[in-house]
Amino acid sequence: MQNSGKRDIFIKMVTREEIQKLAELSRIEVGEDEVEKLRKDIGGILEYVDKIKSAPVSVDKEGDKPALRNVFREDGEPHESGKFKDVLLAEAPETEDGFVKVKKIL
């Protein structure tokens, strides 16, 4: 952006290994040729969002919890078993005997 030197620092911060690690965590195969572009793009994005570090909030301030809360419902009245089985399984790439089929895990 306006300060290419600063951006370079951020791009250097994101190593090739780090991109590979993130890709692994995200379950996305990333080719060797793509790593360099991702380093640049993600470095640029991290440089931009780094602006929040100067925001006047402290990360460990007490009583600063978000005002949102989860709304749960009571368990109960399950639908009859198998009611949606066919329509849902119809979308699965591979099925067998009414189950989703995947490769051996172990």
Binding site: Q2, L46, V100
Partner: protein, 479 residues
């Protein structure tokens, strides 16, 4: 028969339908004809449904029986991330290219009950990640005002369809500006409702704490008619709420504030003079219409200066979690490898486009051990600060007015760097972060190379106060 689609609104169409001036079949036919002519060049629709006329026949039957609702027989376009049972829905992604929705989104159920006619599903940025539809796996949507320019995004297909009379209205979704920004680029009205006012059930998720479904329409009244139909508490969305009686009253004098110095505080090379001019004119128009102007001065950096960077932490974090479900096992595309882990990696590498992969990785980064506090946690604290800042503003004034976007629509392919695209969301993300309602209305235009490009202004109000937005926005459109 020829119907004047250009000047048609939902209300006018409803009156004409009930009076018998034309039938729902004739109306739908007129839109289909327009779509046939214009869609090859605009690419607003990914699919036009093959049963439009039989949907319209059902609407005609209902109208004849005297049971017409306002939306009965009204031809609408639906964004390709909202599920209609039995129809394809792809979020403009290869990973869901052949996916068929197993159930109706709540908004669709409500529109069906009202008798609306669905014309087709509209183009968007893949998984709603983008501001131009350039990230669609199925090609960019072109701006009807200048086909060398983007229609905006991510709900670009819907905005273009309404602007080009290829639908009377459309449903979009807005996570950081995805209804308001394309509405502004295409010269139509776009409403992002209060978070939770409209059920998200059946919307393919991007950032669940930010996502809202809302209307794109030609007039404020049309947007209101659709919002009234789709809103309300829904047992299938735990975050949905009813905003009803206590918020229905309109204050005798409505006040607004412009926080003009906020604009100066933002480092925006892109903020064009015409945008500011048109924005000032909108403020003057509101004053002339009898709304009370109040200044709100900020000293130093304001919470809003941090809206966009905070947004580009929270949204990818939520997206990376939401999109974990697309792995080639339960639905969608499947690319096989040697072991299950390879299946995931190959399916997701092949199925997701560049921007989606990028955001998933950024999300994983800001959520990872060691960075979580510095990024995600801090962004959440900023979120609280932004909400408080809005709450304080709304103690002073009923409405806050900002431009919708820094510029008019850009040229297709012009923006190469992801951050330069992100910056176009600078005025829209704050409303999503706070969860407040915001509406973009066409106001002013700029002439570039002989083409007139629309500009928009954005009005924001406190939680559940869409009614105030409609009241004020209508005045802005009339002048």
């Amino acid at each position: 028969m020829s119907i004047d689609l250009k000047n048609l609104t939902i209300k006018k169409a409803h009156e004409a339908l009930t009076r018998g001036d034309f039938t729902a079949v004739q109306l739908a036919g007129s839109y289909l004809k327009n779509i046939e002519e214009k869609n090859p060049s605009l690419n607003a629709y990914l699919e036009v449904f093959d049963d439009v006329l039989s949907q319209a026949e059902k609407a005609d039957k209902r109208i004849k029986e005297g049971r017409a609702a306002l939306l009965t027989g009204i031809p609408m376009a639906i964004k390709d991330n909202i599920m209609i049972e039995g129809r394809k829905v792809s979020a403009a992604s290869k990973i869901l290219e052949n996916y068929t929705a197993a159930y109706d989104a709540t908004v669709i159920r409500k529109l069906k009950e009202a008798g609306a006619v669905f014309l087709g599903r509209t183009n968007m940025d893949e998984f709603a990640m983008g501001s131009s539809t350039e990230n669609s796996a199925f090609g960019v949507t072109k701006n009807p005002h200048d086909t060398s320019r983007v229609a905006g995004g991510s709900s670009g297909g819907g905005a273009a369809a309404v602007a080009a009379d290829m639908a009377l209205a459309a449903l979009g979704s807005d996570t950081g500006g995805s209804i308001r920004q394309p509405a502004s680029f295409c010269g139509v009205v776009g409403l992002k409702p209060t978070y939770g006012a409209v059920s998200r059930y059946g919307l393919i998720a991007l950032g669940s704490s930010l996502d809202c479904i809302g209307p794109l329409a030609k007039t404020v009244e049309d947007a209101r008619i659709i919002f009234d139909c789709i809103k309300g508490k829904d047992e299938f969305d735990g975050t949905s709420v009813d905003f009803t009686k206590e918020l229905s009253a309109i204050p005798d004098t409505i006040s607004f504030t412009a926080t003009k110095n906020f604009l100066g505080a933002v480092d925006l090379k892109d903020l064009r003079e015409q945008t500011l001019e048109s924005y000032s004119k909108a403020c003057d128009t509101l004053s002339a219409a009898g709304f009370h102007y109040k200044t709100a001065e900020f000293q130093g950096p304001t919470a809003f200066d941090y809206s966009l960077p905070a947004y580009y932490i929270i949204m990818p974090a939520e997206a990376s979690a939401n999109l974990a479900r697309f792995d080639g096992v339960k639905y969608g595309l499947y690319k096989g490898g040697e072991a299950l882990l390879d299946d995931y990696g190959k399916t997701r590498a092949f199925g997701f486009g560049e921007e989606v992969r990028r955001r998933i990785l950024v999300g994983a980064y800001v959520l990872s051990h060691g960075y979580y506090d510095a990024y995600y946690n801090k962004a959440q604290k900023i979120r609280t600060l932004i909400k408080e800042t809005f709450n304080n503003l709304f103690k002073e004034a009923d409405v806050v007015i900002w431009p919708t976007t820094p510029t008019a629509a850009w040229k297709i392919g012009e923006k190469k760097d992801p951050v330069s695209v992100y910056l176009s969301d600078i005025f829209t993300v704050s409303a999503n972060i706070a969860g407040i309602p915001a509406i973009s209305v066409p106001f002013g235009e700029v002439e570039v190379n002989g083409k007139r490009l629309p500009l928009g202004v954005q009005l924001m109000a406190s939680y559940g106060r869409e009614n105030i937005l409609f009241e004020v926005a209508a005045k802005l459109l009339k002048f």
